[in-house]
C-alpha cells in the first residue's frame, strides 16, 4: 500500500472544575481540605500582592513588572504540585509560584525595585530567579533535569513560560534536548493568548500549544488554566511520571492575561475590552471559592478573613521592603566572578576613591 499511515496523535484537554465550581469526581485530585485551603490562600495572597505591587509601581517605588492577576490558577496550581526536592525554573509572570516556593515577598519587591540582592532565595529553595529573555530558560530546566537524574535523585523540574516563548528557537532546542536525554522536566506553558500585543493566532498557526510536543516525541496536553484542580492534577501526574523516569511532558494551560502586559503597557491600544470581560468571568480564584463554599471549606466570613490575612502579610512585607538599605557601590563588582579580577578591582577602587572624594 503506497500511502501508509506512520503515526497518529491526538491532543487532549483536561477540565476538572467548571466555572460554577462543580468538579468531575473521577478526575478530582486527592487533596485534603487543608491543602485546598492552603492553595486558596496562596492564590489570594498572590492576587493581593499583585495589586499592591501595581500601586507601588505607580508610586515609583518599583520598576516595570509583569502582573499575574488572573493567571493564579495556572502557575500557582502548577507550582503547588512540586515537592521540595523539585526545581522550578520560571519566566517572569509567576509571582504566586515564588511565594509558594518560599521566596520572601520583601525580597521579591527588592528585586523588582532594582536591587539584585532580592534574587537570593532562602537556603535550600530549589528555584531559579526570573528570566527576562523570553524562551531562553527552558534549556536550563532541561540541563538541570538531566543533572537531577544523573545524580539519581527522584526529583523533577517544572519550567514555566508563555505561549510567545514557544516561538523562540531555544524553546524547540530545550524540548528536543529534554526528549532526547529523557530529562525529568515538565514544560508548562501559560498560554494567556497574548504576547504583549500579538494574539496567539498571529504567534502560531497550531490549534494548540500542546501539539508542539509531538514534534519531539513528547506527550502534550492542554488544561483549562483557570481551573486550578485540572492544572494541579495534570502537572502532578506529569511530574510524578518524570520522577519515575517517564521523561518530559508539555502542558499548555489555556488561560488569559486580563491585565496589561506589564506596568509599561496599555492593552487598550490593541485589544477589545469585551474579550477581557469574558475571561474575567472565568476568574480562577472565584471559581475555587465557589467550589469551596459548595463543599463547606469556606464561607463569606472566611473569604474575608483570607483576604485580610493576605493584606496584612503584604503590608508587613512592604514595610520590610521600605526599610531596606540601598546596596553599597561595591556590590556592582562583587559577584562578576568568584574572585574579583585585577581589572575589576582597579575599576572598583577607582570608583570608591571617587565616591569618597565626593563625600
Amino acid at each position: 500500500m503506497p500511502v501508509t499511515t506512520l503515526v497518529s496523535y491526538s491532543v487532549q484537554r483536561v477540565e476538572v472544575m467548571d466555572v460554577d465550581g462543580e468538579v468531575d469526581a473521577s478526575l478530582m485530585p486527592a487533596l485534603s481540605p487543608e491543602r485546598i485551603t492552603a492553595l486558596y490562600e496562596v492564590m489570594v495572597l498572590t492576587r493581593v500582592f499583585d495589586e499592591r505591587m501595581l500601586k507601588l509601581q505607580r508610586q515609583g517605588r518599583l520598576g516595570t513588572f509583569a502582573r499575574v492577576a488572573g493567571q493564579e490558577g495556572a502557575h500557582v496550581g502548577a507550582a503547588f504540585a512540586l515537592a521540595d526536592e523539585d526545581w522550578m525554573v520560571p519566566a517572569f509572570r509567576e509571582a504566586g509560584a515564588f511565594l509558594l516556593r518560599g521566596m520572601k515577598m520583601e525580597n521579591f519587591l527588592q528585586y523588582w525595585g532594582g536591587d539584585e540582592r532580592g534574587n537570593v532565595f532562602p537556603e535550600g529553595v530549589r528555584m531559579l530567579p526570573a528570566s527576562i529573555p523570553v524562551g531562553t530558560h527552558m534549556l536550563h530546566a532541561a540541563g538541570l533535569g538531566w543533572a537531577m537524574k544523573k545524580k539519581g535523585e527522584r526529583s523533577a523540574v517544572l519550567t514555566v513560560f508563555g505561549e510567545g516563548a514557544t516561538s523562540e528557537g531555544d524553546f524547540s532546542e530545550a524540548m528536543n534536548f529534554a526528549a532526547v536525554f529523557q530529562c525529568p522536566v515538565v514544560f508548562f506553558c501559560q498560554n494567556n493568548q497574548w504576547a504583549i500585543s500579538v494574539p496567539y493566532h498571529k504567534q502560531s498557526q497550531a490549534c494548540t500549544v500542546a501539539q508542539k510536543a509531538l514534534g519531539y516525541g513528547m506527550p502534550g496536553t492542554q488544561v483549562d488554566g483557570n481551573d486550578v484542580f485540572a492544572v494541579y492534577k495534570t502537572v502532578s501526574d506529569a511530574l510524578e511520571n518524570a520522577r519515575n523516569g517517564g521523561g518530559p511532558a508539555l502542558i499548555e494551560a489555556h488561560t488569559y492575561r486580563v491585565t496589561d502586559h506589564t506596568t509599561a503597557d496599555d492593552a487598550r491600544r490593541y485589544r477589545e475590552d469585551a474579550e477581557v470581560e469574558e475571561w474575567r468571568e472565568r476568574d480562577p480564584i472565584e471559581r475555587l471559592s465557589r467550589y469551596m463554599k459548595k463543599n463547606g471549606l469556606l464561607d463569606d466570613a472566611g473569604e474575608t478573613a483570607v483576604r485580610e490575612g493576605a493584606v496584612a502579610k503584604v503590608v508587613e512585607a512592604v514595610t520590610a521592603f521600605e526599610l531596606m538599605e540601598p546596596p553599597p557601590p561595591e556590590e556592582v563588582f562583587a559577584h562578576v566572578f568568584a574572585e574579583i579580577t585585577p581589572p575589576l578591582a582597579e575599576q572598583r577602587d577607582r570608583l570608591l576613591r571617587r565616591l569618597e572624594g565626593r563625600e
Binding site: 525595585g113 532594582g114 536591587d115 539584585e116 504583549i196 491600544r269 556592582v332 575589576l344
Partner: protein, 326 residues
C-alpha cells in the same frame, strides 16, 4: 519646522520612506497595532496595513533571518528588535548571513536591510534592558553600525540607512528617545553614513562619543567653557562602522588631547579602537595620553546602582581637567 523628540523623528523617517518606496517593510515584535513598545512605529500600521507593518512571532533570529530572505527577494526590510538586549539570538543571522551574502556571491545576492533597536542604560529598566554592546557589531565585517545622537540625526541617518544597499544595524539610545525635542525638517533628508560630526569646535582637547553620550560630552564641554577652564572640541562618531578615523585624527592633531566616552564595558569597547587609531595616526601630536571614560566590566547594575555605571558629566569634566593638567 516641527519640534520632535527622537521617537517622533524616527517614526516620521519611517513613514516618509515608506511613502516614497513601497518596497520598505517594517517588521518586528509589537510594531503593528501597538506601534512598538516605545511607540516608534506609531501610526504606521494604520497607514500602511499589516502587509507592510508586520507583527512577527516572538523570535529575533526569525525576524532577522526572514528579513534577509525578504531583502534578497527585492524588499527593504526595516526590522525592529524590541531591545538590544534581545538581539543576541539574531547575532548569528547578522554575522553569518546578512553581512556575508554580498561577499560570498560576489555581489549577486545582497541584503539591503536595517535592524533597528533601542539600546543603552539610564532608563531604570529591567535586567537585559540597559546593555550597550555596539562594539560586537562593529567588529563584524560587512555590517554598518549607525548610532544617532539626537532627533535630527536620527531622521537623517535612518533615511540613509534604509537607502543603503548593505545591512545596517541602527542603535537608538533609549535614554534620548523622549529626553529632548528639537527642530526637525518636515521634508526628507539624508546624512552620510561613515562620517563623524564635529558638534562643537575647540582647541584644547577632543571629547569623543556617540549616542546618548554626545549629550554628556557636550554638556561637559559647555560647563568647562562656562567655567573658562578649557576649550573642548566635541565629536559625535555617528557611525562606528565604517569608522571615520580622519575626522578624529584631524581633531586630535589640532587639540593634542582626547577622551573617549562610552557606557559599554571598557574592555573591548569601541573606545579601544578609537584610542588605537589615534595611537597609530597621531601619537606624535599628543600632549597627554588618550583616555577612556567607559562603563565597568560588569553586568550593568539594576536601577538602584545604575547611576554609578553611567559616565556622568561630572566625571567627564574631572577627567578633562586631569588630562589638561597632565
Amino acid at each position: 519646522m516641527a519640534r520632535l523628540n527622537m521617537v517622533e523623528a524616527i517614526d516620521q523617517a519611517l513613514r516618509q520612506e515608506m511613502d516614497r518606496d513601497d518596497t520598505v517593510i517594517v517588521l518586528g515584535e509589537d510594531v503593528g497595532r501597538d506601534g512598538g513598545v516605545f511607540r516608534v512605529t506609531d501610526g504606521l500600521y494604520e497607514r500602511f496595513g499589516e502587509d507592510r507593518v508586520m507583527d512577527t512571532p516572538l523570535a529575533e533570529s526569525g525576524i532577522v533571518g526572514f528579513a534577509i530572505g525578504m531583502a534578497i527577494g527585492g524588499f527593504k526590510p526595516v526590522a525592529e528588535i524590541q531591545f538590544s538586549g534581545f538581539v543576541y539570538p539574531a547575532y548569528d543571522q547578522l554575522l553569518s548571513h546578512a553581512a556575508r551574502f554580498r561577499t560570498r556571491t560576489r555581489g549577486q545576492r545582497t541584503v539591503p536591510m536595517v535592524v533597528r533597536m533601542p539600546y543603552g542604560g539610564g532608563i531604570r529598566a529591567l535586567e537585559h534592558h540597559s546593555e550597550s554592546m555596539e562594539a560586537i557589531f562593529a567588529h563584524i565585517p560587512g555590517l554598518k553600525v549607525v548610532i544617532p545622537a539626537d532627533p535630527y540625526e536620527a531622521k537623517g541617518l535612518l533615511t540613509s540607512a534604509i537607502r543603503d544597499p548593505d545591512p545596517v544595524v541602527f542603535f537608538e539610545p533609549a535614554r534620548v528617545y523622549r529626553a529632548i525635542k528639537m527642530d526637525v525638517p518636515e521634508e526628507q533628508y539624508t546624512l552620510p553614513i561613515g562620517e563623524a560630526r564635529v558638534v562643537r569646535e575647540g582647541a584644547d582637547l577632543t571629547l569623543i562619543a556617540w549616542g546618548a553620550h554626545v549629550r554628556t560630552i557636550k554638556e561637559a564641554a559647555e560647563r568647562l567653557a562656562a567655567d573658562k577652564r578649557c576649550d573642548v572640541e566635541v565629536i559625535d562618531i555617528r557611525t562606528i562602522a565604517p569608522f571615520d578615523a580622519a575626522t578624529v585624527v584631524a581633531s586630535v592633531k589640532k587639540t593634542g588631547r582626547a577622551i573617549i566616552v562610552h557606557e559599554a564595558p571598557q574592555s573591548g569597547g569601541f573606545g579601544a579602537e578609537i584610542s588605537a587609531q589615534i595611537m597609530e595616526r597621531a601619537v606624535l601630536h599628543l600632549e597627554a595620553p588618550v583616555k577612556r571614560v567607559a562603563g565597568f566590566d560588569t553586568i550593568p547594575p539594576l536601577s538602584k546602582l545604575e547611576d554609578l555605571y553611567q559616565p556622568s558629566v561630572d566625571l567627564v569634566v574631572d577627567e578633562v581637567i586631569a588630562t589638561m593638567e597632565f
